[in-house]
């Protein structure tokens, strides 16, 4: 005998959230993750510069491999081939920096200005997010993205160099290049993540902030570098890509080309760290200042 048929209507009413809430301290992670997700969404924000960095890396790696293969058959020209293998990464560094600049245009230079313009500060700070979570989250997100461009490529090239060593002794001798490239990459990340973020917090208009950063980097940088030719070379450190290049050359013991000013290591380090610190300080100041202004309305 079959059972009596039944029917149910489910109560789709509202249920309060009974779970735990993530602690306040983890907010920065949410913001950083969000930063990265937004960057990844479109083809032009991050994927394009990343592609360019990959191409740069591929070209440099290709040259290294080519030189390595032909080394034995070149006779006296071997020296040049060996030189190419040794210097590929440091020479490529400035190209990674240029890609890093392009990435900064779409990533970091408009972040805070865009938030100010669209009312995002109200969105963030009417909740339990504090200004420091906001700043840390944005920074970490940007640093993660930027380092993929200016650290990952050079690192791969460095490891490739190690792989192209002729003997194990050479390999061991070259091991210190890994921490060196990481240091250079870290400094480049400071330049291309923190400084544009600083500029984006200066002006409440996205386009203006972007223009200001581009102008500072390109025009002011070019002027400083040009000045370094005629006055003290240390001034050239104010041109960010050249400062990174200088650190790379010093660490990897390359010689500067004749017509290029030899920017001293301490000037380059000082410039990069100084720029980044100033930028971060500016960001903290601006965010603190604006954080409760957006909440509460006009009346």
């Amino acid at each position: 005998m079959s059972a009596k048929p039944t029917g149910t209507i489910h109560d789709l009413g509202y249920r309060r959230y009974a779970g735990t809430r993530r602690s306040e301290r983890s907010r920065w992670r949410v913001i950083a993750r969000h930063q990265i997700a937004i960057a990844w969404k479109t083809w032009w924000r991050f994927k394009a510069p990343l592609g360019m960095a990959v191409i740069t890396m591929a070209i440099a790696a290709g040259m290294m491999m080519f030189a390595s293969e032909r080394k034995s058959s070149l006779g006296r020209a071997q020296i040049f081939a060996q030189r190419m293998i040794d210097t590929a990464m440091p020479e490529a560094m400035i190209w990674f920096c240029r890609v890093g600049f392009l990435a900064s245009l779409t990533l970091g230079a408009t972040v805070i200005a865009s938030d100010l313009q669209s009312g995002a500060f109200t969105f963030y700070f009417a909740r339990s997010t504090r200004p420091r979570h906001y700043v840390i989250g944005k920074l970490i997100g940007l640093i993660a993205l930027t380092s993929l461009i200016v650290v990952a490529g050079p690192l791969v090239l460095t490891i490739l160099r190690l792989g192209l060593s002729d003997t194990t002794d050479e390999l061991i001798e070259l091991l210190p290049t890994i921490p060196k490239v990481l240091a250079v990459g870290a400094l480049a990340t400071l330049a291309y993540a923190c400084v544009p973020l600083g500029f984006s917090s200066l002006l409440p208009n996205r386009r203006h902030a972007l223009a200001l950063w581009a102008a500072y980097y390109l025009i002011f940088g070019a002027m400083a570098y040009a000045l370094a030719h005629v006055a003290s070379p240390a001034i050239g450190a104010l041109d960010l890509p050249r400062a990174v290049q200088a650190v790379t050359f010093h660490l990897f013991e390359l010689e500067f080309r004749e017509r290029d000013p030899e920017i001293p290591l301490d000037a380059a380090l000082g410039s990069l760290i100084g720029h980044a610190s100033l930028a971060i300080g500016l960001v903290i100041f601006q965010v603190r200042r604006a954080h409760h202004a957006g909440v509460g309305g006009s009346s």
Binding site: Y14, R16, Y17, G19, R21, R22, S23, E24, R27, V30, I31, H34, I38, K41, S114, D115, Q117, S118, G119, A120, T122, F123, Y124, F125, A126, R127, S128, T129, R130, H291, H292, G294, V295, G296, G297, S298, S299
Partner: protein, 310 residues
């Protein structure tokens, strides 16, 4: 039951300017209207209650001190701002999910609640399109959804019907009115539109020049004209003539428009008098109600003076 808000001696000064001058109030209820002219201190009050600025005195929201537990208050309170509060380049679902995560919800929970909140706010497929292209009405709804996503116990709504056309305004007010029942939360509604307050709120808090002048139910706010013999009558036409007719019958009348009049009947007279007089004079009565003070008049009375522009 913990009152929603408990304020004692709440004071906030910006240099020589006193934005809040010793506010004392205990606020309970379901939907509370926060009223006051510009410069009354409403936005400063809100910032203090959310724990965003320092102040002297006591302020408790849902039993938590705004001075020490600001972040926790902001987790349990939803805020719907007057101005734009969006991130560009995202759609409504992403925004609301992000909002939920920023209030401490795990990602999946946040996304589920984001969808539920958007349904409540009446946004259907549009939720997958970037917010930058939304109309004003839709933007207001998304703001409401953002305020609801993290399961708050109390909502602050700041001019929620701003810029909405009459139909959308009605919809929004209905959404607001149903919130306490459907979402188990209380609401503080800050607005300049007194009829909205009349329609939706059960209590009111009136502020002026940094002080609270009134806390209580809407009924308490309105001084009842007292008795069933003070009436407002609406007629199909000829209000002035009807006023004369009623006056002849012993009532005090004043025509306020071609179709409406205020009537004070003599002691002992009932509305039957009105109907009889109307029938005899060939007037059609279309409306009759006890004359109650309008919210506007009550508001002005409580405030006391006409303020200068602030």
């Amino acid at each position: 039951m913990t009152p929603l808000l408990e304020l004692a001696g709440l004071t906030k000064t910006y240099g020589p300017i006193t934005a809040l001058g010793g506010v004392d109030a205990v606020v309970e209820g379901k939907i509370i209207g926060l009223l006051g002219p510009n410069g009354a201190g409403k936005s400063t009050l809100l910032k203090c209650l959310l724990g965003l600025i320092p102040f002297t005195g006591e302020a408790r929201v849902l039993g938590l001190s705004a001075r020490t537990h600001g972040a926790e208050i902001r987790d349990r309170v939803g805020y719907m701002p007057e101005q734009e509060a969006f991130l560009s380049g995202m759609n409504a679902v992403e925004q609301c999910t992000y909002a939920g995560e920023l209030s401490g919800l795990p990602r999946n929970e946040a996304m589920q609640r984001a969808h539920a909140a958007l349904y409540y706010a009446g946004i259907e497929e549009k939720r997958y399109q970037p917010i930058d292209g939304y109309s004003t009405g839709l933007k207001q709804r998304v703001k409401l959804a953002q305020a609801l996503v993290h399961d708050p116990e109390l909502l602050f709504l700041d001019e929620p019907t701003n810029g909405l056309d009459p139909r959308s305004r009605d919809d929004m007010l209905e959404l607001i009115r149903e919130l306490p029942a459907r979402r188990d939360c209380a609401i503080v509604l800050s607005t300049h539109l007194l009829p909205d307050v009349e329609r939706v709120c059960d209590r009111a808090v009136i502020m002026h020049r940094g002080r609270v002048h009134f806390v209580g139910t809407i009924d308490e706010l309105r001084a009842d004209a007292g008795n069933a013999s003070s009436l407002v009558i609406e007629v199909k036409a000829d209000a002035a003539r009807f006023a004369d007719v009623l006056a002849a019958a012993g009532a005090t009348c004043k025509a306020t428009s071609p179709v409406a009049l205020d009537v004070d009947l003599q002691a002992g007279a009932t509305s039957a008098l009105v109907f009889r007089a109307a029938r005899d004079a060939g007037i059609q009565i279309r409306g009759l109600a006890p004359r109650r003070e309008s919210i506007e008049t009550a508001f002005l009375r409580v405030i006391g003076t006409a303020g200068e522009p602030v």
